[in-house]
Symmetry: C2
Subunit: 297 residues, 2 copies
């Protein structure tokens, strides 16, 4: 389940309500594209902004529309009791796995984070992926903490942050992590512009934000990368450099939302306020990149 | 209302429920100490971890027990619609003012934050204090953004972050802010170890985390500082250097919780999990500092 392309769809809002009709169309599209898995309610799915009822409805709709594609559900929240409730909800609606980031307001210590994963995994009956996303959680995992958490029951994957460098350099980082975690725990790269390198360097999976909107375009990079075809994978990723530059400037959520709007997959604005969508010349740049690169899927 | 010592109490939890009995004892204590105002559900009050019902109950209990002391209620949340609901709740239970931080998960732009304050102030009928707390929100206000937001209706104060430096250096920063905001908007310093300097440098108020637990000890610094008695204020703050060092190391929330536990004002653990209280030798250091400095209030 934690191999290949894992597509992370947006959760579009309309008038501050989850637009379930648009959302299920996104999921149907991912099912048809036969992605390796669907990561619903990830950072791109705005999980942190939604309440428990909304998250349960989105999780249920994902499972219902994903067909045979495995579904991971994000269960992160600030308070441990909220996380446990969300884990129970995700399992009840039939999630194949859950994804947990150590969301913070007050700075978290390693002991806080270890305790959170201990508490949550103690009650779990599906696999858990550790969601290491320092850009949004402002928490940095040490190798020691990876080692401790990866040894907990039900932990079967770690979603690692974007890792810059050559394939060789990233391979060193991957090997350093693998050296401290059990063999069965899978590693997934995130940061779409770093995915080709990450997969070539030995990651098992790619947790992809744009994969939620452009599954075919991302699969076209994932396929050669997973097959070890270095030249082809890197060339495919290099071709999308203008996309990676947009993400570096605006963040993947706003770029995914603008692309989805341009492709008429969602109605804009679709982000939870106060987050504003891209407008004016920023929006024009996204449109131009989509058109110039022929990113219609 | 936005002058002098504003005390920010903990919201103690017990078995993952708000311990309203302990909380109201804290508020009664602040009322008796005649602090300038009470800042309920601030960062020290763990607002970000509590749900809407819990926050409404805490806000109502604060107003009920504060006597004639003005009450500010924190209304921050990730989603603008949540903030607006919390603002309505705070006003319904009788808050004298609200306090709003731009809480983030996805990185916020200046436009996002401006829009948030515009939306919220448009519906407000009590004063609003801008809560600039980059340590928890990871958002940094520019002077231009201060200027824009401070000119919105109902905005009557800005809680600025800890500002290091001599009185002269901090005065320059305060004057730079004052130069761009309307004259009626008050400035409050935060970061208890920076408060004497901040007040001497021209801040109107001190938004104090430890003031929620040790109002007399903090008032003993605030009083000379507000009177411009530089030597006495700085000496009073210097005397508490071991406290400021604990805060620098563990954060004010964990230090306030450990002090409150040691003084038997709350039952430990009292923080929302995954946040763990201080234990072992860390806890011993807090106890030793409280005893050595005679911080019993």
């Amino acid at each position: 389940m934690f191999t290949g392309l894992s597509a992370f769809p947006l959760t579009p809002l309309r008038d501050d309500q989850v637009d379930l009709a648009a959302y299920t169309r996104l999921i149907d599209r991912l099912g048809a594209a036969e992605v390796g898995s669907i990561g619903a309610l990830g950072s791109t799915g705005s999980y942190a902004y939604l309440d428990r009822d909304e998250r349960r409805a989105v999780a249920a709709a994902t499972v219902e529309h994903a067909g045979h594609v495995p579904v991971l559900i994000g269960i992160g929240a600030l308070r441990a009791s909220q996380v446990r409730a969300l884990a129970a909800d995700a399992q009840e609606v039939g999630a194949d796995a859950v994804l947990l980031a150590p969301v913070s307001y007050q700075e978290l210590t390693e002991d806080d984070v270890a305790g959170l994963y201990e508490d949550v995994t103690a009650e779990l009956s599906v696999p858990l992926v550790v969601y290491d996303n320092p850009g949004t959680t402002h928490f940095t995992f040490s190798l020691d903490l990876y080692a401790h958490i990866a040894s907990l029951p039900h932990v079967e994957g770690i979603k690692i942050p974007p890792t810059a460098g050559s394939v060789e350099e990233v391979r060193e980082r991957i090997q350093a992590i693998r050296a401290v975690i059990p063999e069965h725990v899978r590693l997934g790269i995130s940061g779409d512009g770093f995915a080709a390198t990450g997969l070539l360097a030995g990651c098992d999976a790619w947790f992809s934000s744009l994969g939620g909107i452009l599954p075919q375009a991302m699969a076209a990079i994932a396929r050669p990368a997973l097959a070890g075809e270095e030249e082809s994978a890197l060339a495919g990723s290099e071709r999308l450099r203008p996309v990676w530059e947009l993400i570096a400037e605006f963040g993947s959520l706003r770029v995914a939302a603008a692309m989805a709007g341009h492709l008429e997959l969602v109605q804009e604005p679709c982000l939870p306020r106060p987050l504003l969508g891209l407008t004016g010349s920023d929006r024009d740049r996204v449109r131009a990149v989509v058109e110039e690169l022929g990113l219609r899927d």
